[in-house]
Amino acid sequence: MRDKIFKRILVGCCILILLVCAGMVYSLISGSLSAFQHYGFFNFICSSEWDPHPDREVYGALSFIVGTLLTSFLALLFCIPFSLPVALFTGAYFRGKKIATFISSIIDLLAGIPSIVYGLWGFYTFRPLIIELGLNSQGFGILTSSIILAIMIIPYASSLSGEFISMVPNELKEAAYSLGGTRLDVIRTVTLPNAGSGIFASYILALGRALGETMAVTMLIGNTNNLPTSLSDTGNTMASIIANQFGEADGLKLSSLIAIGLLLFGITAIINLIAKFIIKKFNG
């Protein structure tokens, strides 16, 4: 009898999680409905105008979608030359050694630093550097935020891909060594191709992280509602426009912001699903 109740409770909690997710999707859709009805779904996505003036009130999400995708993909690009070496260091060269554990636990701590602290560091230490180098007169913008984003996602990209690299079977590597390959040859021709799809998946997961990052980007991107055209341009991402304007919003503007939230939720969900699908295939 007691067992039955206990099992019911277990199932009940699972159903609760399903309900939470269903409720999230429902609230986002019902909140954004009036914006989509007013502007039309495709118009909303394809318009880059954002004019909160009470007489006009035109809202479109394109600049923010572009801003989000641009910063995230740039961050991904910038993080590869660092996260791949870390993954090779911990997964191939020093696999199982103490130094590998040390490095990977320090990199893991990078993931623990709150987003707002990254933002501060970027603002007060990194931004002056950008100005000094002459990359950007103000120091704000797409480039600055992507570099900080890149540092933030290094741990996500490197820890998982390091695991996949260390999972490459020893027999394969030994076979390559026995044919006279150097360590570089083995990594290039055996390890990387074998762990390839796993590494790819971990980078997609890292991309998902970058897409949703809010605070650090909000502090560094400059918060202007225009379509970014170059790396030194300021802009806004989907997350940063919500963080900046949600507090004072109501009516159509609130609905538009929730609609942007829905789009962001959809994009990250798709990205995460792709990564999970690849990992599942990789693991057999």
Binding site: L10, C14, S27, F89, G112, I116, L211, T268
Partner: protein, 287 residues
């Protein structure tokens, strides 16, 4: 022969390149910690933990005379504690129960769907979860509140705890459960009195990591808890939190010195929790 030297040279070069880049990656962590300590240690004193955040005027006066800014972040510390505790009360039992179900029935369709949904929630951006908590709690109650903040943090903690519980329970040997059942213990007592206590270390690690993860969250709290200048025990009133205070200080040029000390405090708190969790995880794995 020449070819061989060239190849070994290339191999060596690549190896050193990897080592250099990998060690460079460690730099930001120490750079951030160093900067926070250097700029923030002055402000950390007794009143930092007992007094509320100073007003702009007080801070400006103190700055003009070269003093340290009076006041502290007690309202933020209390708000963070309250919100994290309520979030933990909501998320930990639910998460552990779901984790038990997933590890007991790993292959059923229902479990697969639950696992999929858990991943979906875990992947969703924190700001979106903030919007959710706003529509679920702030709008119906008509006011920003610490409770709304807790709800958003609880949604973020839930998937982390589910996954860590499932992973930990999966690692326990099946003989443990069989021995309990063979002795005539009921299924409920086997799970609650044998499986959960043996998995305690892993569960505790998961809980600590989840707490340290949500403790530094700012974005969802901006949409839910809003912030408050006074010490506030009422969970249905707007409340402050350490990351929210950092955001306020950041927007007020007079309070700039307070940014560093509160960030230092937050960072040390989060990293300590992280390190303790990893330590427990390592010890537990050896047993």
């Amino acid at each position: 022969m020449n070819n061989l030297t060239y190849r070994t040279f290339k191999d060596k070069l690549f190896f050193y390149l990897i080592c250099t880049l990998a060690s460079l990656t460690v730099v930001p962590l120490f750079a951030i910690i160093w900067e926070l300590i250097q700029k923030g240690y002055k402000q950390i004193n007794w009143s930092f933990f007992t007094e509320t955040a100073p007003s702009t005027l007080d801070a400006m006066l103190a700055r003009s005379t070269g003093d340290i800014i009076p006041g502290g972040i007690a309202n933020g510390i209390l708000g963070t504690l309250l919100m994290v505790i309520i979030a933990a009360i909501i998320a930990i039992p639910t998460g552990i129960l779901v984790g038990i179900h997933l590890s007991e029935h790993p292959k059923t369709k229902f479990s697969n769907i639950t696992r999929f949904i858990t991943d979906l929630i875990q992947g969703s951006p924190s700001i979106v979860i903030g919007i959710i908590a706003y529509t679920w709690v702030v709008k119906p109650l008509g006011s920003y509140s610490a409770f709304a903040g807790s709800v958003s943090l609880a949604i973020m903690m839930l998937p982390l705890i589910v996954r860590s519980t499932e992973e930990t329970l999966k690692m326990l040997p099946g003989s443990l459960k069989e021995a309990g059942l063979a002795l005539g213990a009921s299924y409920t007592s086997v799970v609650l009195k044998i499986l959960l206590p043996s998995a305690f270390g892993g569960l505790f690690t998961g809980i600590l990591l989840a707490i340290s993860r949500v403790m530094g969250e700012t974005a969802p709290l901006m949409l839910t808890a809003l912030g408050s200048t006074a010490i506030n025990w009422d969970v249905l009133e707007p409340s402050s939190a350490v990351p929210l205070l950092i955001w306020e200080f950041y927007n007020d040029p007079n309070l700039i010195d307070m940014i560093w000390s509160s960030s230092l405090f937050l960072l040390l708190l989060v990293l300590t929790l992280n390190l303790i969790a990893k330590r427990i995880a390592r010890k537990w794995k050896i047993q």
